[in-house]
């Protein structure tokens, strides 16, 4: 078999390697395809032949093959039992199949060939082992490898485990989509259960196509729901996710997902192969002859119907658009051909506007006159949709359109363990807050999805603090749906905060002080950092040189290792009382965010002299700059001004934009000169990226005052993959990296792209900026606007009520009826004047 020529030890190229290897793997892929096809076509006779394959292996063979690094799937038989015999039959069957993938399947009879360890340990008799690269790679319980399908599926799955990804949530899937965009397409599979024929088919295909497509397995639940599949339908399914040529259909925020095509046939190796082939077929092919003269589709599409549409020269573009739109909907079902009527070879009467040819019948072409594209679609999908209708409707009504709410809803079964946090109430608030120097309180509402999503992170922070034995911080939560008076700041006693009107809210409460509002990102990491930083006094009084050094050089807590906070040092002579209070006030407001230190005695002069400032002064040590070069600020008259100055001085001049820091830079209101760099693979890449960032700094420095309006910045697509779709949205497609764009201009919504393939050098960037300003550049794209109309139609009750409320009987009329019944029964008075029957005024009622 062809594939037995595969290199023995690592048959799969690692996905991170590129071009050259890619070609090799492509070649190999075709070899594999051929092998699979051959295997399939001859499967029948092999089934019998399999039985005769000798899988008995000697201890010597085992050691020799182990040393050579070959892949082996072995069972060490210590004893004989009916179950084991059954397994051995299946093992023999799998030997042939796995041979195609370079895996030797064998059995060692321990009685004859006692292999050390594997033959002696009794627990090994219920396991089979996969050896790879000279050592044991994985072992399988016989429960999971019980027949030929499960053996092949599990072994291949093990070999491919670095390449075939698992996704649990739609967010995971989205991340993988992001990574694949512009690079390769995704094959998304869901197998009803592992070890089945379907699982095996998917794994075999992944083995063959793994370097071409990203294979992803769905574990069920949320992702299936997202894909509109009813989980109870119990069918294995495959989707093709078109991410490679994604740019053309890029739309912002919520709909930037890659388009999907669902495989509509039952999952088997052959059908999957056909399906993938079909995905590679051109969307629309142009033909210049009559449909009847077009040959039936050739291998590998011979089983696929053809659909013909006609194009007139006058409406050529429109026709192509229509054809493409239909082709997308028919993808995986039929091939679309566009017949150009202007060709003399086209003889189809004008009254027909479509034709099709089915594979199974004779190659006869049927001509049609269509009124809408849906008619064509119906031809191929009718039967299927009938089967699925209920299911789809079901899943649609059950969908939440808000991603945060949907996420919380999906996880509603996981009850949060609130043991790690203290639940504050109107009754225990004061006593709990009095217990520690710092109380962190989360105010939440159960029905607010953002609150509930953050509550999980909050509890994790509490656990983290507990784990590192941080005992001076108390983490508390208030359920504002229950303790409404506490959250309204009116529990009957005074509380150190204002009524809470935003959920979730986090307050930091220190004894005898007004609460401080946490204004950072709603992530566990950011909150943890903030809380850890908040434990330190702000400002921290420093009185010795050692204290100053440790303040500047050390991380405040081992848990924050790797985090470099900004640091601010106040230099005050003892007599400058007013300046000191301004600084102290500002420092209090900076607590948690920036580390502040205060020098008031003799050391002041030393530090002032060293940095050439006149006290009172504030030295800033931004995290992004070397400690030896602090910047200095004079002390202003108000703490608010000082705070603003500190904040702006701490901003990096050419920042790397991240999801977390973008808001602080956007708030500057400057146009963004934004560089996108890709993920580096090696040191060379890293150096190249660094050089690019240096050029951006150059732009900032050389541009001088002209650059005031611009913020030169960059996004690292490896660290901030969300940037990829931003870039795609700016330009409509993904350009080669690095890419430099100019966006968020004050003057308009145009987005300009620095000429690709032109070296990014400070000087030429400045020139380019000049020509953008001069209006000689044309924009490459546009920013979306600032209005976000509702994405979903509301349910118009008024309209529904108007339609359904037919002839409402007025209550008066009903009254009359009841009254009459009673009169009849009791024969009391027959002559109730009807005009007195306004029950509202007639009634006696107790008050």
């Amino acid at each position: 078999m062809a594939s037995s020529d595969l290199p023995p030890n690592d048959p799969r190229p690692s996905p991170t390697h590129t071009s050259q290897r890619g070609q090799i793997s492509l070649l190999r892929m075709w070899v594999c395809v051929a092998a699979v096809l051959l295997w399939i076509s001859s499967a029948g006779c092999h089934e019998k032949a399999n039985m005769s394959i000798h899988i008995e292996i000697t201890a010597a063979d085992f050691h020799e093959r182990l040393l050579s690094g070959k892949m082996m799937f072995l069972y060490f038989q210590q004893q004989v039992s009916p179950t084991i015999s059954l397994f051995l039959v299946e093992l023999e069957k799998s030997a042939e199949a796995l041979q195609d993938y370079g895996v030797l399947v064998g059995k060692v009879t321990c009685k004859k060939e006692p292999v050390q360890a594997y033959c002696t340990d009794a627990k090994h008799q219920h396991r089979a082992f996969l050896f790879r690269g000279g050592k044991e790679f994985l072992s399988f319980s016989l429960d999971t490898v019980f027949d030929v399908n499960s053996i092949v599926a599990e072994v291949l799955f093990a070999i491919l485990r670095d390449e075939v990804k698992y996704v649990h949530t739609d967010a995971d899937l989205q991340t993988l989509e992001e990574a694949a965009k512009g690079k390769r397409d995704i094959v998304l599979g869901y197998v009803r259960s592992l070890g089945t024929q379907e699982h095996r088919s998917l794994m075999e295909t992944a083995y063959v196509y793994g370097s071409k497509y990203q294979f992803i397995l769905i574990t069920g639940g949320p992702v299936l729901k997202q894909l509109g599949v009813n989980e109870s339908s119990q069918l294995s399914r495959v989707w093709f996710v078109h991410c490679r040529v994604h740019g053309a259909v890029m739309t912002p925020v919520t709909s930037e997902r890659c388009p999907l095509t669902r495989m509509r046939t039952a999952l088997s190796t052959l059908s999957l192969h056909t399906f993938l082939q079909l995905m590679e077929a051109p969307l629309v092919s142009k033909v210049f002859v009559d449909p009847s003269s077009v040959p039936p589709p050739q291998f590998p599409y011979q089983l696929t119907p053809q659909v013909f549409l006609f194009s007139h020269p006058a409406t050529e573009h429109l026709d192509l658009d229509t054809a493409s739109a239909l082709a997308w909907r028919l993808r995986g079902l039929a091939l679309l051909l566009l017949v150009h009527r202007q060709s003399p070879a086209v003889k189809t009467p004008e009254k027909y506007n479509a034709a099709y040819r089915l594979p199974e019948k004779s190659s006869e072409v049927k001509y049609l006159t269509l009124h809408s594209l849906d008619d064509v679609l119906e031809l191929f999908t009718k039967q299927e949709e009938e089967e699925e209708e209920d299911e789809e409707e079901d899943s649609h009504s059950g969908e939440l359109d808000d991603e945060v709410a949907a996420d919380v809803y999906r996880n509603r079964g996981h009850f949060l363990d609130l043991d790690q946090v203290t639940q504050l109430t109107s009754d225990n608030f004061h006593s709990e807050v009095a217990q520690s120097s710092l109380t962190v309180v989360l105010f939440y509402l159960k029905w607010d999805a953002v609150s509930m999503a953050f509550l999980g992170s909050f509890v994790e922070v509490a656990e983290k603090l507990e784990d590192s034995r941080v005992d001076d911080v108390q983490m508390c939560v208030v359920d504002c749906g229950e303790w409404t008076d506490l959250c309204a700041a009116q529990p009957g006693t005074a509380v150190p905060f204002q009524p809470i009107t935003e959920f979730p809210s986090v307050l930091l409460i220190r004894r005898q002080q007004a609460a401080q509002r946490y204004a950072g990102a709603l992530s566990g990491e950011a909150l943890h950092r903030f809380v850890m930083m908040s434990r330190l006094a702000s400002p921290l009084l420093l009185s010795t040189n050692e204290e100053v050094t440790s303040f500047l050089q050390e991380v405040p807590h081992p848990d924050l290792a790797g985090y470099r906070p900004d640091k601010v040092l106040g230099l005050f002579r003892t007599e400058s009382r007013t300046g000191l209070s301004v600084f102290t006030e500002a420092a209090e407001l900076l607590a948690g965010e920036v580390l502040t230190g205060l020098l008031t005695d003799g050391l002041v002069e030393k530090w002032a002299a060293e940095h050439d400032v006149e006290p009172p002064a504030v030295l800033l040590f931004p995290s992004w700059r070397k400690l030896s070069h602090p910047s200095a600020l004079p002390v202003t008259s108000s703490s608010k001004d000082l705070l603003t100055q500190i904040h702006s001085a701490l901003l990096q001049p050419v920042p790397e934009l991240t999801v977390e820091n973008l808001p602080s830079f956007l708030s500057l209101g400057k146009a963004l000169l934004l560089l996108f760099v890709g993920e580096e693979e090696d040191e060379i890449g890293r150096r190249q990226n660094q050089a690019l960032v240096d050029q951006m700094r150059g732009v900032s420095e050389q541009g001088g005052a002209r650059m005031e309006r611009y913020l030169p910045c960059w996004i690292h697509l490896g660290r901030t993959p969300a940037g990829l779709s931003v870039l795609g949205s700016y330009l409509g497609s993904l350009p080669p990296l690095p890419a430099l764009v100019l966006t968020h201009l004050l003057s308009g919504d145009e987005v300009y792209q620095y000429p690709p393939n032109t070296p990014i050098l400070a000087g030429s960037v400045l020139q380019w900026l000049q020509s953008v300003e001069d209006g000689t550049e044309s924009p490459a794209g546009m920013l979306g606007g600032d209005s976000w109309p509702p994405a979903f139609e509301f349910y118009d009750f008024l309209k529904v009520m108007d339609m359904q409320e037919v002839d409402p009987r007025s209550p008066e009329e009903e009254e009359v009826k009841t009254e009459e019944v009673n009169v009849e029964e009791h024969l009391v008075t027959k002559t109730m004047p009807y005009d007195h029957l306004d029950m509202n005024s007639k009634f006696h009622s107790e008050l």
Partner: protein, 630 residues
Amino acid sequence: MEANLLRFILFTLVGLVLTSFNDHLHNASSHYQYCVLGAGPAGLQMGFFLSKAKRDYIILERNSGPGSFFNKYPRHRKLISINKIHTGRHNAEFNLRHDWNSLLSDKPDLLFKRVSGEFYPPADAFPLYLSAFERELGLKVKYGVDVGRIRLVRSATGRSYVLIDQHAADYSCSILLVATGLWVPQEVEFAGSHLAEGYESISTNPDDYKDQAVLILGKGNSAFETAQSILGRASRVHMLSSSTVRLAWQTHYVGDLRAVNNEVLDTYQLKSLDGLAEARLEDVVITKQEERGRKRSGLNNPETRDKLYLNLRQFKQNSDEGKGSDEPWVELPDYIDNFSLRKPYDRVIRCLGFRFNFSIFDSSARLPPSENAKGRLPGVTAWYEGKNTPGLFLLGTASHSRDYRSSAGGFVHGFRYTARAVHRVLEYRHHGNKWPSTRLMTTQLMSWILKRVGEASGPYQMFETLGDVILLRGSHCEYVEEFLLQALPRFSSLSGHDVSSQGLIVLVMQYGKRKIDNLGLGRSETDWTQAWKSNFLHPVLYYYDSLPTAQDMKTRPHGWPLPRPKAIHHMVEDFLTEWDTPLSHIQPLRRFLEHCVHSDLRAFSTENCFRSALTHRKPPLFCQQGYLAR
């Protein structure tokens, strides 16, 4: 010259005399900015608000303690207002939904449960509670002041109400808040009406009714309470009124017959000896006759009681419309031999409720009787001011004409909120304090609405009468709680809040209007798209792009609390009254709010906010107010 001087002196003298005379008058009376008449639950409730706002006020009470009505009524001494202490919740606001006796205050523990733990508490507990309320809040009450006359006095400085008590002392008040309740027994004139005893004076000892046939006039709670107490002693209890029984659990009106009082329905329907009948009371004729043959029966009863016979005055069959009362009448039993009430009674008891005491108002301060409630209540504006008496407001049970038979304004658990609304009207009108409001970011509005529908007690008790008004202002909104719905056209002038061009949303709790089998299958709606067919109390949101006019209000659809809005949203009724499920309650509400504010209100992940912030001039509101603001 001289003449001028003389004239000057004369003027000065006259002026001095007049001034001192005025001063004298002034000294004899006491002036208050606010006078509250009556120290019942409504008066004390208002007292709390005035005291909290540090206003110049006095509460005048003719009796020696608060809530004296409850020393006598209900006659059988059991309150039927729910005192549900064990709700399983700590939410103070939510708990008020199930506490019908407490008054509003800022003391979390000043609740009725302190004086009684019983679900239907004894009546004596109520004055006890009111005393505690008055004492602990330090309310200014003057007891023993029996105001017999109220008149309106106009002077150069404005108008004031002058109240004259039994000692001819007078109290001059800029604003008069009448919280005198209803205590004059309601009577109906008919032939022989003097033969009936009144609920106010009957014996409450069941033994006094042994073997007696009793006819009770009325089918309200006092009638049934009376019937229930004598059921085990009386030989037969018949109840007569013009209308059929209305069951509170069917009408959702707590003034209708409560199930706690309805034992007679059981004995009637199971054919014991009791029963209900209908007839206009004005047509009743009661005649007294000595029981025939009684003296001969030799019963050991020294005072044989006279028997009371009931007849009905009958109009001629073909009487002309409107002239009925002038037509001759005949006595019924003479020609209908199976007349239900043909057997004589030992007692006829009148249990027809109470009416407002109109008599103390001078013609200058006259309150017109309401058009509904048989004129038993004074008519007031939608903000409870007398129709022709500016500065005179009605509080408490007497203010019930605005929501008579439709909401709870005649009961403590309802009027404690309307009193607060009146106080807010006054605070703005006289002190320039706008109605309290909460400023919310528009992205927080939905959570806040869900919070209100889950806990708010005011709109829940005063359904269809009080509602929250949300003023849309683009990226934020002002949330005004518990406005008087019927006064909505006057919202800006009453509350001090402007309505912007973005419009407003009004949040109302309401019951379904369809007549249904209240216990039958299909009585509740669970599909949110059918929420407008909800039969039980459920939140409804009305969206207007501008304030409805008085004309809109007048011509509103039948049975609607508000005029037809631009858009409406019903939140489907919820068995647990929590209205917080993601699919059935929250998402449809969000889409409705999105429609009202013309903006996407969804929450987004940080990554999506990052993306949209970079790809758009501005990201969605959630990202602007959350992600970018952090």
